[in-house]
């Protein structure tokens, strides 16, 4: 069966060049970077090379890059690490209402331990307002954590503007105020430069960048102090204990190098296909709503709500025809959990339940998009034929005066 993968925001396939770069580090180059002998130094050199590549991708210094297991760990080290380090200076954290579940979960855990969390709204375009950030900062605020691009609708947040505010406040004496951004989705989909953003911490994950799962990094600006969450090892300059996953780090380094060289080309490619996809859907399917700002968003993401049907049914129907997508809504134990991100955009439950994310990749082809445009309208039609809501709407339309 023909299969089309449009779920690159969930994970990406490992690029062959990346796999080739990492393979020797699983077999003959197996040393522990902490060892003094030849094997150890060979591994150490490879980790350092990878660190330079990841740093170059975000325009940072190599020693500002801390390798760890992935985006969730990066977010934990950043948010918990800063909160714990600065607990004596203040216990207030500002975040957005559409963060990835890892940041949401960490903030909830902090809240249970006595921190105060301000969750900024995103309005109907899925973007935080800079004025809201400015107004939310208090003397006891220790951290602002706002994602760079949202994982469900792809909207790009004004992190650089927030960075200016944070720097301004620091210059005015609010020395302990820091800015973290979760750039897991943004990396590879837009130019990410820590100086432009003005952030102190930035989370990255390799598997969204055509490298394997199990490795990521946290950018920690020089001079930024945070409490390590993995203690008991001197690795990563005491910021993350544990033997480095050398092969995976090498893979991340190679993926970062390729992303830096190919970024413009990848962006142009996915944007052209995504736009063609969206206009194709608009022509073929009625009663749809695009979620999130149509301009300020990642070039490879399209999030669409299909009225009168539910996302998971559409997902399974598409999957049976070979098309892999994702939905943010879930229904379990009879309690409905429509996507919190789509709800935060002010959409009603029906639209939040019927949302599907299509996320393209650098290797997505015109033929694949054409195939999805052939399959999708049929799948929507199949489900709408079953939907009492659709039948009712059709009957009302038939009765309405022309």
């Amino acid at each position: 069966m023909r299969r089309v993968y449009l779920d690159h925001s969930a994970t990406t396939p490992v690029d062959r060049r990346v796999a080739e770069a990492m393979l020797p580090f699983l077999t003959e180059k197996f040393g522990n970077p902490s060892s003094v002998h030849f094997y150890g130094q060979e591994a150490r050199a490879a980790v350092d090379r990878a660190r330079r590549e990841v740093a170059a991708l975000i325009n940072a210094r190599p020693n500002e890059v801390v390798f760890l297991s992935g985006g969730t760990e990066a977010n934990n080290l950043a948010v918990r690490g800063v909160a714990e380090q600065n607990a004596g200076r203040g216990r207030h954290v500002i975040t957005s209402s559409i963060e990835h579940s890892s940041v949401r979960g960490i903030c909830e855990a902090l809240e249970r331990r006595g921190w105060e969390i301000t969750r900024l709204p995103v309005y109907d375009n899925g973007i935080v307002r800079v004025e809201d950030v400015r107004a939310a900062i208090r003397p006891d605020t220790v951290l602002v954590t706002v994602m760079l691009a949202n994982n469900e609708v792809g909207t790009i947040q004004p992190v650089a503007e927030i960075g200016s505010i944070v720097r301004e406040r620091r210059a005015e004496g609010h020395k302990h105020l820091l800015l973290h951004t979760d750039a897991v989705q943004a990396l590879g989909g837009m130019k990410v430069e820590v100086e432009t953003l003005g952030c102190d911490l930035l989370s990255m994950s390799a598997h969204k960048l055509y490298a394997p799962k199990g490795v990521g990094a946290l950018y920690v600006r020089r001079g930024t102090r945070l409490t390590p969450q993995n203690v008991g090892g001197h690795q990563e300059r005491e910021r993350r204990g544990g033997t480095e996953a050398v092969a995976f780090i090498v893979a991340f380094g190679e993926a970062a190098r390729l992303a830096r060289l190919e970024l413009d080309e990848r962006i142009t490619h996915v944007k052209r296909l995504r736009d063609a996809f969206e206009s194709g859907v608009e022509q073929r399917v009625s009663d749809i709503v695009f979620n999130g700002d149509r301009e300020r968003r990642l070039p490879n993401v399209s999030n669409i709500s299909f009225r009168f049907i539910e996302g998971e049914g559409l997902l399974i129907n598409l999957d049976m025809q070979g098309v892999a997508v994702s939905t943010g809504s879930a229904c379990s134990s009879g309690s409905l959990e429509p996507s919190p991100v789509i709800r935060a955009l002010g959409r009603d439950d029906g639209l939040a339940r019927g949302s599907i994310r299509f996320s393209l990749g650098k290797d997505t082809t015109d033929e694949e998009i054409a195939f999805v445009l052939e399959v999708l309208p049929r799948a929507v039609e199949t489900l709408r034929r079953l939907s009492p809501l659709y039948q009712k709407a059709q009957a009302e339309r038939a009765c309405a005066p022309a």
Binding site: G313, I316, N317, C331, S332, G334, L336, T382, R385, L386
Partner: protein, 118 residues
Amino acid sequence: MSYSETFKDYLANPRNAGELSDADAAAEQSNPVCGDRLKLSLRVRGGRIESARFLAYGCPPTLACGSALAEMLEGMNVADASRLTRQDITRAVGGLPARKGHAAALAVETLRTALSKL
């Protein structure tokens, strides 16, 4: 979460979808918590369900259970239909994940409401 092939087939190729214009009994029930809806219409001749149709909105188990229910009702005696249980419907769709049992419950509830109108 994984669904059986039988289950997925009900989603891709739903059977008995629609509404009967000459139904002898019809019912629409919804799950007040999650908003899932199921509509069932039946045509009965001589104590036997001659035709059954369903419409459903909601999560995949609700759609699959609606389709499986309508399919199995056709040709069934009303007395037998009134004895159908959640387990019968769950079996017909090839099983349901533990947390999705409410879909079969909604199907049984809709069936009983419809039969009570005969």
